[in-house]
């Protein structure tokens, strides 16, 4: 039986890059309105795993996923699923900020115009709300017409978060969202994530173990494409059951 609070559940998820298998029988449950951190050494498959949740990997030839991934009880690997709607509900933030070559306002308005029938006034309101939600409004309210690409790296990433939440998703996937951002910008994004957990289910892939321990409720440790251990973040970092996990979180390899 599925627990009701699980927003995402993967069952025997396997992933292939052509002939190369990258994920092995991943079983993972992700609770709603919690932050789940996915950690593990480079190349362990943590990003690959995350990229299944919105099927973004399908952009690339030769990549395929097998198994089941339930979001709200529905298998999103089902070919009949509405991909555009899935991706509206499952937002994603990437490692490098990707502001579109347009104004700050139009960046955030993009998903609104894409998914909603909204008047100009409603669009403007939603843009403001999204920018406030991403803790960016005060910094950009006087330069909404300027290029989104002119902002600082940290601001660009929060712009991307604003843009993602403007689509009114339920889940936010974050693929190493701060690894290209300076420490001050990182701190702001972490504070922001703490507030976002009230509204969204967040899954974050991170290289940074301090970050995982600071912000997440649950941590999943990946190694060579398999999930070694999942548990409350505190336990994973203080009292892991698995020797591999212990070695990794104590910095003995990675």
């Amino acid at each position: 039986m599925q627990k009701k609070k699980n927003k995402i559940e993967t069952k025997r998820l396997n992933f292939f890059y052509g002939d190369h298998q990258a994920l092995f029988d991943n079983d993972l449950s992700i609770e709603a309105n919690k932050i789940t951190a996915v950690i593990g050494p480079s190349g362990c498959g943590k990003s690959t795993h995350l990229r299944v949740y919105n099927r973004i990997f399908e952009l690339h030839r030769g990549q395929r996923a097998e198994g089941e991934v339930f979001i709200d009880g529905k298998d999103i690997l089902d070919p009949g699923i509405d991909l555009l709607d899935l991706r509206r509900r499952v937002g994603m933030i990437f490692q490098k900020p990707t502001p579109f070559p347009m104004s700050v306002f139009d960046n955030v308005a993009y998903p609104i115009r894409l998914h909603f029938k909204a008047s100009q006034k409603e669009i403007a309101e939603r843009v403001e709300n999204a920018l406030r939600g991403a803790a960016l409004w005060d910094e950009v309210k006087d330069k909404l017409r300027e290029s989104g690409q002119a902002l600082s790296g940290g601001q660009q990433q929060r712009l991307c978060i604003a843009r993602a939440i403007a689509a009114e998703p339920e889940i936010l996937l974050m693929d190493e969202p701060t690894s290209a951002i300076d420490p001050v910008g990182t701190l702001k994004i972490e504070e922001l994530m703490d507030r976002l957990r009230e509204r969204f289910t967040i899954v974050i892939v991170t290289h940074n173990m301090q970050q995982a321990s600071r912000i997440s409720d649950t941590t999943a440790f990946f190694y060579k494409g398999s999930i070694v251990e999942v548990g409350p973040t505190k336990l994973i970092f203080t009292n892991p059951r698995n020797k591999l996990t212990e070695d990794y979180v104590s910095g003995r390899f990675g």
Partner: protein, 286 residues
Amino acid sequence: MKTRSTFFRKTKDSLMRAFSGFATSMALVLMAWVIFTIVREGHSSISAELFLNASKPFGEVGGGIANALLGTVMITAGAAALALPPALAAGIWLAEFGKDSLLARAARFTVNVMMGVPSVIVGLFAYGVLVTTTGHFSGFAGSFALAILMFPVVVRTTEDQFSGIGDALRESLLALGASRARSTLTVIWRAARSGVVTGVLLAVARVSGETAPLLFTALFADTWPTSYFSGPTPSAPVLITSYTMDSPFESMHRIGWSAALAMAVILLAVNITARYFGAKRAAKRK
């Protein structure tokens, strides 16, 4: 361990730098030489009449080059109208959708071959399919020939510009729930636009100076280009060729050189415009 002497490395470095500096200045010298010669030969007969009047038949005194310049604009614009829509679409398709598929590789190979086809052969082809069949030369046949020359260049530039955009942008568009087509036509196009515009302007400038294909198709006329679809149409490259090569009259040689000067100035302007767009894009990327 003993360190290597830096003397030879430094010497090699300065030699290499001197050589590349020399090679670079060669390019500048050649360009300056070309411009200098055209200006020297062409400036004396530049006048307002030259740019207001149509050319006159061989032997008649006076006459301008305005009909030829206008004809070149029409033929080149016609070529752009024919070539750009399919070339842009093909370039976008190759970069965004075709990628490494069999059809895409075949198309890419064909486009590369097309780039190497001599313009005289393209002219003969246009002559065969549009002049002998209709029974008359026409500016449109000239546009058709130039379009064939322009097409592969624009396909390649467009593909290069679109493939130069990282997948990060594509993924973030898809991740928002945008379809492939929509993200390509809105955001990806915006990111690639200025580079594509630069490439298109350069391609247009390039073919506007082609002469050989026009000899088979548009031919020439000492009239205003009023019968673009049905009759010989004057153009600057053909005027330059026939006035300087075929005419015994010194006054016509002068006019030919002036037409060359006018073409050079116009093309330089187009090139600078194209570079300006390119530079703006480079500045934005920073």
